[in-house]
Subunit: 263 residues, 3 copies
Amino acid sequence: VSNFIITLTTDFGISSPYVAQMKGVILGCNPAATIVDVTHAIPPQNITAGAIALREVAMHFPPRSIHIAVVDPGVGSARQIIYVEAGAQRFVGPDNGLFSLVTREHPAQRMVAVTNRAFWQSDVSSTFHGRDIIAPVAARLSRGLDPVELGPALERMVELPWPIPNIADGRVTGEVTHIDAFGNAISNLRQADVARLAAPRTQLRVDVRGRPLRIHATYSQASAGDAIALFGSGGYLEIAMVNGSAANALGLTPGDAIDVSVS
Amino acid sequence: VSNFIITLTTDFGISSPYVAQMKGVILGCNPAATIVDVTHAIPPQNITAGAIALREVAMHFPPRSIHIAVVDPGVGSARQIIYVEAGAQRFVGPDNGLFSLVTREHPAQRMVAVTNRAFWQSDVSSTFHGRDIIAPVAARLSRGLDPVELGPALERMVELPWPIPNIADGRVTGEVTHIDAFGNAISNLRQADVARLAAPRTQLRVDVRGRPLRIHATYSQASAGDAIALFGSGGYLEIAMVNGSAANALGLTPGDAIDVSVS
Amino acid sequence: VSNFIITLTTDFGISSPYVAQMKGVILGCNPAATIVDVTHAIPPQNITAGAIALREVAMHFPPRSIHIAVVDPGVGSARQIIYVEAGAQRFVGPDNGLFSLVTREHPAQRMVAVTNRAFWQSDVSSTFHGRDIIAPVAARLSRGLDPVELGPALERMVELPWPIPNIADGRVTGEVTHIDAFGNAISNLRQADVARLAAPRTQLRVDVRGRPLRIHATYSQASAGDAIALFGSGGYLEIAMVNGSAANALGLTPGDAIDVSVS
């Protein structure tokens, strides 16, 4: 079954001509492709930010959608282009860890090194593999190309370092992994991690930078200016401020410890 | 007849992952949907700005297009999700006034409370009804779902307060409702309001912040730096400056009075 | 053969309602159109920037794609709307030079004055020909309308002034034409210009603002903070800085001379 959806996640910046070039190449290979921009505002060369965007978005797409990611500081070096299947979604991009936060949640079912030049543009630049390799490969996959044609199977891909929650003594300790556009501080703690404390949510206490917070179910349970903890729509515990920026108000940055304990 | 066009107007910010999540859900329900971004740069929680964007854009789409709007400070509270038909266009979003500037111009032909969970995502978050209710409902409507299935008919919806032009003594008085991205100050005065003065346009005088202006037919009739009045492409009288920002140059803000009289 | 791809290049700004209005009109004329945003971030009324964007992007699209450009300071004046064919691509927009950098590389094969009102919106505003003329004409072309129907053939169109490289005495002299979003300074020198020096790339020296640089094949050949020259993915010699802005670091602006000579 073909799925003509191809998403794009890059650090090219809003309105970059490079984005339109990639779309032109995709439509040249599959005029019926449905192209969806995830974001082009990943901070330049910030692979972790790209990986987080993919983790937040990919699983909301129908099965077999193809997700292109181009945050590629190593373009022109020996790093490979890879194809990955995980969680019924498909990914194409450089092998630099971009897909490794998705695969932490949904283990890779297949990894392929994209080496067969038959499916690339005939003229590959040394500076823009997104356009010359990744776009045409994704477009051909969307039309039904068997990934086995792309190149040899891979045993492993590059993985980003990622903090593992620590569970001990009735306390779960994670950390802030990133700040989103609203100033919410997102952690690496999931519902399942906190559930090990075996207490109802209302009895849990969250400590961040010396400040105790309660876990709320929704924003509407708190008042404007209140700092709260809640599980965001991506499933991770986050520190938020109603109608404000928790990161600014509490001075939160990635790496800050977040403790959850029974109060 | 189905119409696969679905537009999106939100305050999520450019390149938010939440926009892509909604698109993924829409395409999961209707892989043939044609999704058009109206804007994601509505100032956070500014319902009026969202309502103005819908008013400016919706009627340019083909009949039966579906317009999603998510500017939703009340998510998680008792506010309802509604479906509205007006001017041959269709709208889905929170019942907070977002559609009430459209319906001032094109009275609502049908209003429905979206309560039937059969057409929602199976797992509805408390923080993101745009993705979990509005997106799947819109996608199913685009495939031909009868709106009667969505829930009970509504008698009334929430309406934004809106200034009514005052007509008296050969003078029409309106006010600035918003400043657009070019610094033009848009008013609540339409051609029909001004026509009641029963004088040709060339004899009309516009007074704003103590400054008399002429109504021009086009920008090209004035010189760079000239402040002018003209009926913009949306049909409302606006104060503009050729190659400049009228709002900055004249110090205009929403609420400023605009008088039109025969000179 | 029809090609339903229509691209948009404008100076309307990100998230302008005018962009969505144009898309609504296009989809009203051709519901199956595939609309691609090239950019809406052209600096206001900067025709040269619009022309550069089209030059960088258009040829990456499949043959017979239609490229709409609306950077139109002369709207409402006597300037015409034109249709142009060049390099198997098709263009519609104001006759103000927007297409003249494309046609420097790919000579125009056909030019038509768009004068037949039968294919325009029935009600044409004086301020927004992009929506009322260009969008419906492009949509009808995408469905197969013969361009001969649009109006009379044109002999010439407006051309932007453009610097011609100077070749003399074993030296090729060009200039910086623009700075891109990454701070790279792009020149008017192509590989073919530099090839006239008849020396291998490794023996060439680039001088810009008193600074000698080497021509590299890829960014990965240099270190962070190094200023280098290379032929960018658009085919023009550019001055770049690895992980930085060459324009800022070297103080480069459009018009700066760039000399290439044998070292």
